[in-house]
Symmetry: C2
Subunit: 355 residues, 2 copies
DNA sequence: TGTATTTTTGTGTACGTACACAATCATAAT
DNA sequence: ATTATGATTGTGTACGTACACAAAAATACA
């Protein structure tokens, strides 16, 4: 304990000298390799403990010829939204930054509308023997199982884009989904009177990755609950994402719920809704959605979308890969949660926003 | 160009072989050291360029016995607010994480109410010959000059807590001050009618570090300008921070501006204002301020503060030091701006907030 | 032409660890 | 006691670079 505070961090060599053994033996003890007598192992362990030995991970990385293999598991592009493309750019950027340090990034893609494809790719990935994974865990159950399988073989997982609480990932980088819903509700609370009609739309083919939207919805509802402002919130799951289906559903919903004041679309598909509303002519509801995509921004410009809540997918992916590398190479434990700022973009300030 | 894509990054040794020289000569060329004939230098340079040689910074760090010295320049504690203490914890945390890699963190402290003390410490720091600096640039002119002086001798500076736009820092980690003001105004816009009275309070002894508050104020005003909602904003600089002075000033301001709807305190001193308002009895204005400090939270609980806009000072400092280390040790260029999430804390949700 | 001097180039060791291999030791079998 | 066997420990080289020093080559001067 007092040795380490002297500034000279002692290494494997000093330990060997203290224990009157060779560095090879110390090395064996440190790595739990066999072939060391119980007595010397205990002696060395004791010295290691009391001296607070910290391995020099830079030297270790240099000496170890092992290739670090990082896998990414994300929705494939081209997809229905341009969102995932942006994210991929972040992965590529990170890859080029670390490839000269014995790191390889291997990309796996699944169909965001097909849980089975996630499982299939996840299985391939597990077989491949990579050292760590960066993934967008948009299917809760599948991702949870996958993460646990990884944990069992000591492969750390980094979540980006959406989090699964209580699942043991190395870290999460992305929105604080709950907060973003909460903040949205905060905004909405000013636009509405108690008991007015609010429409929450979850537009996604796979119900299972609604948790991405679910946490937002929870936050959204929590605000009103916290603040004792009862609202008439209608939540609708629209399971088809094409324009025809969405417009039909929205039309039905608007017919049933008259005088809707706010439409909150919980993901980036808000432009589809906006497009339909545009055809109705007179705009009566405030429209809120997610992500700085071209289509969405266009509607923002035209006034058919009022707020966009934005994150930075590229930066998320970039940071995710780098954080995993740092962890694998240098055991640098990342911040458990890195929340991207919740930027609220309006018609007035979108020009100055750099996604 | 095509060599590097073959996955085997060639090193100093391969270059030497290609050029028919020894690695020592290559080393000299790479480091621009003297003692190499023009001809061989050119030959080696050519090979380096066409092969896209990237030095292995891990090996470099191991071989270089140089100690990396990082300085921090922050307000001293104990100060009037507990804010800086939290930040220091982040510095200490980072320090303990990297001290075993040949890094020393040296702390410098200045008086946040005394620009001269900043200059004095900055001068000391410059003399000390450190390799990089993490600082809270709360005095614009002084910090700008300091950063430029650092740049001149190739010492990178990381800004935390507040940014100075257009000053060439390595990176900034902290709030997006403008956005935080903008968002606050967005909230305020719902609480007010056009042309109502808003009081913006900058409470700080040194006018010069108002840029921290100024950017917020700019964002605040920009929102109303962007959205064509003229407000009657009175901005007041209170140059003394003790309770007596603040309460006197606020009292005067409230007398002159009757029917103030919103009081926006642009830093963590909001509790001082809240304390005074409490003595007035009936609360008429919405009070908004910054930072999750005990005093502020207490007022939030009691309802004398309505919103607190929170950042994570400890995480800022932690990340700042680590980013600088990564840069100095491995030339890992950090994200230019890392914006902490703008968390809005109310009486209803403060319990679940982990600062 | 030979020596002194300077310029240029090559070599060896180190950084702290990993790992293959060699050497030593203890124990059991003969 | 001798040898074989396995358990334990020690040694050497490598990772890719930095740097001090030695060696060689080129130039200058006598």
């Amino acid at each position: 304990m007092n040795k380490e505070s002297q500034g000279a961090p002692l290494g494997i060599k000093e330990i060997a000298k203290k224990a009157n053994v060779s560095i090879g033996t110390v090395d064996r003890v440190i790595h739990g390799r066999p072939g060391v007598s119980k007595k010397t192992k205990e002696k060395i362990d004791a010295i290691i403990n009391e001296s607070g030995y910290q391995p020099n991970l830079i030297a270790r990385r240099l000496a170890s010829k092992k290739l670090i293999r990082i896998a990414t598991l994300t929705p494939k592009v081209p997809a229905e939204t341009a969102y995932w493309e942006v994210l991929l750019n972040g992965i590529k950027q990170a890859e080029s930054e670390i490839e000269s340090y014995g790191v390889r990034v291997e990309q796996y893609f699944f169909d965001q509308n097909d849980k089975a494809s996630f499982d299939a790719q996840a299985a391939r990935l597990l077989d491949s023997g990579v050292d760590g994974v960066v993934l967008t865990p948009i299917f809760i159950d599948e991702s949870t199982r996958f993460t646990e399988a990884c944990k069992a073989i000591n492969v750390p997982c980094v979540f980006i884009n959406s989090d699964i609480p209580h699942v043991d990932s190395l870290c999460y980088i992305g929105h604080n989904l709950f907060q973003s819903g909460y903040l949205t509700a905060h905004l909405v609370s000013y636009l509405t009177q108690p008991n007015e009609n609010i429409l929450v739309l979850n537009i996604s083919k796979e119900l299972e990755h609604f948790h991405y939207t679910l946490r937002k919805e929870e936050g959204f509802r929590a605000y009103f609950a916290d603040n004792g402002k009862p609202m008439n919130i209608t939540k609708a799951d629209i399971r088809k994402t094409d324009y025809e289906s969405v417009s039909k559903e929205v039309s039905k919903l608007l017919a049933v719920n008259n005088d809707v004041k706010v439409i909150f679309v919980t993901n980036s598909r808000v432009s589809t809704v906006a497009r339909y509303l545009q055809t109705l002519g007179k705009k009566t509801a405030t429209v809120i959605g997610y992500d700085f995509l071209n289509d969405n921004v266009e509607h923002l410009k035209q006034g058919t979308i009022d707020f966009l809540i934005c994150q930075k997918p590229q930066e998320q992916a970039h940071r995710g890969v780098l954080a995993l590398y740092q962890y694998l190479a240098f055991a640098t434990v990342p911040e458990a949660k890195t929340f991207m700022p919740i930027d609220i973009i309006t018609r007035e300030n979108y020009l100055s926003y750099r996604s």
